[in-house]
């Protein structure tokens, strides 16, 4: 064992010296390799962080949301509807909600108008989200007018601005009182947009949904776990698509690695020839080349991954962000929580190191079987 370890140490020593002798060539390969790892790692780190963010945001949303459907379309909840679902066991609270969308021609963006369950502002006042504050240049106690869908102009006073921390969900939010909301949208009295149910036992959620569907055939229950699952799938799918597109880059890199490894310079061939003449076996040359590949791979992997980490968590993934997170006029600005996931690193390793290893195998062997006499004579 000791002998084996010592042998590997000498091989690594020799390989490092040999790599250092051909700096430019190896640095070129290392650079391309690092860029590839950087791109792939950025994508995986970013989408993982987004998944986590979505899960965090949805953690506080209600377990079940009930919408009413008319002719397959989402419709308002009529008066008396909420009483009908009152007696389902396991449901802790039910709350009828009022919310809607408003298109603002000034910023060419959609806002979400909503009546909060608690802490609603007084009539004529609103609380706005941070993105709205930025785009309309609002501050506390400023007045702002919106033209409602009926054509009337409504003026509100900004009572407060929502904190930055919740921006992913509150960027385009406008909170107002029940009366202001109904007046602004001409909402019929006693009607609501949807109903939120909170269920304490997560194992009961599915049963509650089944009972709801049986009791109110025109209702559509939407479960939080389903929403979470959908988000996770969407981000995974986007990540997969980007990776699949980048697979062309992986292929190109494989070809480059193959080419670099097979295009041995005359000097390198001589080196291998001399090594074999002084007693190295084909197996030894293969081990040396193996160490060379491993050292280059690990260095590139580490550099690329660190660069990607900085890119995603310090520079907000400016290169790939738009593809992965989606797009909107009033897009929230948010800081992602740095997070590294073992599966992501393992997958990334498969995507980069494995193709490289596969690409250089044959060229390594070709180099290793070089005949000493043919090289030294030539």
């Amino acid at each position: 064992m000791k002998l084996w370890l010592a042998r590997q140490r000498y091989l690594i020593d020799f390989t490092l010296a040999s790599l250092a002798r051909r700096k430019t060539r190896n640095l070129g390969l290392l650079f391309v390799y690092t860029v590839l790892v950087f791109m792939l790692a950025s994508v995986t780190l970013y989408s993982h962080a987004l998944r986590q963010e979505a899960a965090r945001v949805l953690a506080n949303s209600p377990e079940v949301i009930v919408q009413r459907m008319v002719a397959g379309r989402h419709d308002l909840i009529p008066p008396g509807y909420i009483e009908k679902i009152g007696r389902i066991r396991g449901v802790q609270t039910r709350e009828a909600r009022l919310w809607g969308y408003y298109y603002d021609a000034v910023t060419k963006a959609n806002y979400t108008f909503m009546v909060p369950a608690q802490g609603a502002p007084a009539g004529g006042e609103i609380i706005v989200g941070p993105a709205l504050e930025r785009s309309r240049g609002l501050a506390k106690n400023n007045g702002i007018s919106f033209r409602s869908y009926s054509g009337k102009l409504h003026t509100f006073v900004v009572a407060d601005v929502l904190p930055q921390a919740s921006e992913l969900v509150s960027a385009d939010l406008v909170l107002m009182s029940d009366e202001s909301f109904r007046a602004f949208f001409d909402y019929p009295a006693g009607h609501y947009t949807d109903i939120a149910l909170s269920v304490a036992n997560p194992l009961e959620v599915r049963n509650v949904a089944l009972k709801l569907a049986a009791a109110l055939p025109d209702a559509r229950p939407i479960l939080r776990e389903e929403v979470l699952r959908t988000y996770a799938s969407i981000f995974d799918w986007r990540e997969g698509i980007v990776l699949a597109l980048l697979s062309a880059a992986i292929l190109a890199f494989g070809i480059l690695a193959w080419d670099k490894a097979s295009g041995l310079s005359a000097e390198e061939k001589r080196e291998i020839g001399i090594l074999k003449a002084i007693g190295w076996e084909t197996g030894d040359v293969i081990s040396m080349k193996f160490w060379e590949g491993l050292l280059v791979s690990l260095t590139a992997f580490l550099l690329g991954f660190v660069a990607a980490y900085a890119h995603v968590f310090h520079f907000a993934a400016s290169l790939f962000g738009p593809v992965l997170k989606g797009w909107a006029v009033l897009y929230p600005r948010f800081q992602l929580t740095p997070q590294i996931d073992g599966l992501q690193v393992a997958t990334l390793f498969f995507f980069t190191v494995v193709p490289y290893a596969a690409a250089v195998l044959v060229p390594i062997w070709k180099a290793a079987i070089t005949d000493p006499d043919s090289v030294m004579r030539g």
Binding site: T44, D236, I241, F351, P355, A357, I364
Partner: protein, 337 residues
């Protein structure tokens, strides 16, 4: 569901392995037909050189298979969030009929490839490559198995549907269901503990005996290989019936996959890695033994076999020690004296 990064990576790895073996198949046929160590012809020289390429290629495939088994389970674990009813890898593997066969096939291919590599190793140590024909004939057997494993895996991934309600480990490993896994987990803890320690102890003793005899002796070699396979089964049964209970500190949770979860500090990997290494080494002892009588392998096979026996003994001892440590640390009282 094909566009999951880890799935793409796994399929990429499988495709590379199949490709590598497909590329070596024509060469294998050529070796079987034309190999003649006494000849000094150009063709023979070329064949000899190519054996280096293909043994390197196979080592690569083996390493990739090992990494792929780990990634496969790791991925199944992570994807459990996407399926209704799935709480760990069991649920994900149960989404369709190909999940568990894919995992089993991967494990089988890993052990077979390890045995092939052992034969390859002793062959390349000898000056006259006495096993080259056998080796490449075995490679031709291994190739369709690997392709089959890749096919099952592809079917599994193609058929992953998020709207299927799957069953979690609770129902698969519960004591009433009529599956082999349930049989193993319904084993009472006390006999299972006896079985686990007795089998592992016997295997370690056999490995020590084989090593003490200098790696010679047909009986000890085949006994060690058989005992290794049994010890693998006994350890899996032990994990199902009592180790997992101690780890989860729950008298009815028998899942062999949940111990891989972050909630339990990824302890499962500590247990499974030495187990796989030990089993592979033990099986390899049996794989090289039939060739111990060959003239040029007289010195090589026993030395290598002894080495493998040492690896197997140490790794099985490590497995037992880790399992014992898990039980020691647990606050669950499963057996009252």
């Amino acid at each position: 569901m094909l566009f999951q990064p880890a799935i793409i990576a796994l399929l990429l790895a499988s495709a590379l392995c199949v490709l590598a073996l497909a590329a070596s198949a024509p060469f294998a046929v050529e070796v079987i037909r034309r190999w003649d160590i006494r000849s000094g012809s150009e063709r023979q020289l070329q064949l000899e050189r190519r054996t280096y390429l293909f043994s390197t290629l196979l080592s690569f495939v083996l390493l990739l298979q090992l990494a792929a088994v780990l990634l496969f389970v790791f991925n199944a674990e992570k994807m459990s969030g996407m399926f209704v009813g799935a709480m760990c890898a069991v649920g994900t593997l149960n989404v369709n009929a190909f999940g568990f066969p894919a995992l089993n096939a991967k494990i089988a291919v890993f052990f077979l490839a390890a045995m092939w590599l052992a034969i390859n190793h002793v062959d390349s140590c000898a000056r006259d490559y006495p096993l080259v024909r056998i080796k490449y004939a075995l490679l031709l057997v291994l190739a369709p198995l690997l392709a089959g494993s890749a096919w099952v895996e592809l079917q599994y991934f193609l058929d992953l549907k998020a709207d299927v309600i799957t069953s979690c480990c609770g129902s698969l490993f519960s004591e009433g269901s009529p599956t082999l896994a349930a049989e193993a987990s319904s084993l009472k803890p006390l006999p299972a503990i006896w079985l686990f320690y007795a089998t592992l102890g016997t295997t370690i003793a056999l490995a020590a005996w084989h090593g003490w005899r200098g790696g010679r002796g047909n009986v000890s070699a085949y006994a060690l290989a058989t005992a290794s396979a049994l010890a693998f089964a006994a350890t899996i049964a032990g994990i199902l019936s009592f180790v997992s209970l101690y780890v989860y500190e729950h008298p009815n949770h028998h899942c062999p996959f949940c111990i891989l979860k972050p909630e339990y500090g990824y302890q499962g990997y500590l247990l499974y890695l030495p187990l796989f290494v030990a089993t592979a080494a033990g099986l390899a002892v049996g794989a090289v033994q039939p060739f111990a009588g060959r003239e040029s392998l007289r010195g090589i096979v026993p030395a290598f076999s002894r080495h493998l026996a040492a690896v197997a003994a140490n790794a099985f001892a490590l497995t037992a020690a880790i399992a014992t440590a898990m039980i020691w640390q647990s606050r669950l009282i499963l057996l009252e004296n």
